[in-house]
């Protein structure tokens, strides 16, 4: 155990040294470029020289920061390419010696449990997202557009509900699910995730709807739309970004959630990704870090895919040009 600790400490130190060396080299080369730049820029175009230099150095700083942030992911990826046990090394190598796809092959094997976990997580998260959006959108629309009895108490309740730490509610959730017979049932998990995420989603979406002028609703009403038609044809298309955020947030929460899932789910075929991977790391393949790293990378791919899909809606349509100015 102690040797392991020393190895980790040594590696951290080496890491720091490498990063320091890296940044100083970059800084030096930056200076060199700066000195040489005026000549090149003068040759290109005289106007905006200072701005160009400033822009480039700002970009380089940004790239540096991004590298620092991405580094853990790069490290995990490199770890996933290693052979079993090869992480116990005293040298720090980003590109591992004898890189191999073994870990991935193991993870993606047809009989690997990864597929079960993936299927379960997808099930839970997609249904959570579906329910959340289906409930939050009409709720937020009503909160934003209408005045009704109990509106303020409900809004305040939604805020206060978020102050309660999730863990405190687990006992209640557990008992509830047990009572409903939904213990060890993926659908039960869906229900609870939806309940956990809804308050934030409704509030967020309501604030977003508030930024859309009510004139559009009223114009639609006068044009012959019912309240439902007005909401669907007019407000929703314009509020695509808000709904996209709601959907993504719901999906994300469910995907990474470990604590509740580990309590609720029991049987092997119901386990979701986070639970499965945790079990992997402590119970069976205790030291198979490459496999664990490979699984980490693989389980982040669906998130990236979902985000790429949603990103399109984030950019599409903000309510410009509908009203004056």
């Amino acid at each position: 155990m102690r040797s392991e600790k020393k190895i980790i400490q040594a590696n951290t130190l080496k890491l720091r040294k490498t990063v320091a060396r890296l940044s100083s080299t970059i800084a030096r080369s930056l200076q060199k470029i700066r000195k040489r730049m005026p000549l090149t820029i003068v040759k290109l175009h005289k106007i905006g020289r200072r701005r160009l230099v400033l822009g480039i150095s700002q970009n380089l700083i940004a790239i540096l920061i991004e590298l620092a942030i991405i580094f853990p992911i790069i490290w995990i990826f490199s770890a996933s390419l290693r052979s079993w046990g090869s992480l116990q090394t005293t040298t720090l190598q980003i590109i591992p010696p004898n890189p191999t796809w073994d870990a991935y092959l193991q993870a993606l094997a047809p009989d690997s449990r990864f597929w079960t976990w993936l299927r379960n997580s997808l099930f839970v998260c997609l249904f959570t997202t579906g329910f959340c959006v289906a409930i939050a959108v009409p709720a937020a629309y009503a909160m934003s557009r209408f005045v009704f009895l109990g509106k303020k108490p409900i809004l305040y309740a939604l805020i206060f509900m978020q102050f309660v730490p999730g863990i405190l509610m687990f006992i209640a959730f557990f008992q509830l699910l047990f009572f409903l017979g939904l213990y060890d049932n993926l659908f039960g998990l869906v229900l609870i995730y939806t309940a956990l995420v809804l308050p934030f989603n409704i509030w967020n979406l309501k604030a977003f709807f508030d930024t859309i002028p009510k004139d559009i609703d009223e114009a639609a009403l006068i044009d012959g739309a019912s309240y439902l038609e007005a909401m669907i044809s007019v407000v929703l298309p314009v509020s695509a970004p808000g709904i996209a955020v709601t959907a993504f947030f719901s999906f994300l929460t469910g995907w990474n959630e470990y604590a509740l899932a580990s309590i609720v789910l029991l049987s092997e075929e119901n386990i979701t990704l986070p639970v499965g991977m945790y079990g992997l790391s402590t119970v069976t393949y205790r030291e198979n870090w490459p496999l664990f790293s490979a699984l980490s990378i693989l389980s982040s791919i669906p998130l990236v895919v979902v985000f790429m899909i949603i990103q399109r809606y984030l950019r599409a349509g903000l309510a410009i040009g509908a009203v004056k100015g």
């Binding site: 002028p213 004139d215 559009i216 009223e218 114009a219 639609a220 009403l221 006068i222 044009d223 012959g224 739309a225 019912s226 038609e229 044809s233 007019v234 298309p237 314009v238 349509g317 309510a319 410009i320 040009g321 509908a322 009203v323 004056k324 100015g325």
Partner: protein, 371 residues
Amino acid sequence: MADVLLENVTKEFEGGVVAVKNLYLEVKDKEFVVLLGPSGCGKTTTLRLIAGLESPTAGSIYIGGKLVNNLEPWARDVAMVFQSYALYPHMSIFDNIAFPLRMHKVAKTEIKDRVQKTAELLEIKELLKRKPRQLSGGQRQRVALARAIVRNPQVFLMDEPLSNLDAKLRVVMRIELKKLQRRIGVTTVYVTHDQVEAMTLADRVAIQFNGILQQYAPPTEIFAHPKNRFVAGFVGTPPMNFIEGKLKPWGAFAMFEAEGFSILLDQELANKTAENAKQLPLDAWYGIRPEDTEITEKGEPPEWIRGEVYGVELLGSQNIVHIQIDKTRIVAIASPTKLYQMGQALWVKLTSSRAHLFDRETERNLTSPAS
């Protein structure tokens, strides 16, 4: 038959704000009625009551003879043009104009036909494929109009549609709107705070203040025979002069005694007032429009009153002269060729048959028949 009737309508909001008090207003079929008044007088609320976006606290609203109190906006067959145009930003112009027709389940071919015709009428045919954010203010306004017209509704409702246009465009669109309304022949209720718009567009003007209808009459009548002090001061540019004082008899004549000077009452005016001004002396306001005053450099009392030039505004087509008479300031209109100096002595004639007298207490116009 698309007449609009508001029968003793009151609208009270949360917090005790009474936007509309016991309003009785009838709009005849094909009439262009303008709701005029300062901000917060209840005109937009009245419009929204007709549209169905608000429901009245008391009273009844009839459109085309039908009671619509409990009808939602989509069932009322009215079309509205908003101050902010409220175009649907994610739809093309064609879809914007077609939206009401689609909502009413009109056939596709007919939709296309009607949208094209309406776009031609408003000269926006080339814009049909664009999105609202690509259009200028004037173009957006015409799209909003097209969207209202394409349905052939019973009533047009317009909420200050010209207020976002530049001055020149406003003048052009005013005339276009009027001609359009005549051509289509739809009952129109138009809200504005601009009295010039009201005077040029309206068949009848309904002036509101603090939720109460002040006067409901054709523009010329509102201008010539305002019912009370508020109406008199609201309509007309430059606004009417009001002089505080007492109405007193003076031998066979009548005199208006202000602070520091007196105005001889025109005989016609005195006759008209006689009925309402029974108890003399009477505290009153003497109202005279700048264009009804006369100024000269050499005058004689009692018709002419001496004053000093306080300020001059050169407008090109006319000069506005501010004259200080003792503690009162009068605004008069002079021909553009006459240039007066600051502090110059001038004689003003305020005696005119077109002047008005307003009771200081009730603010009612004493020259109008008691009603």
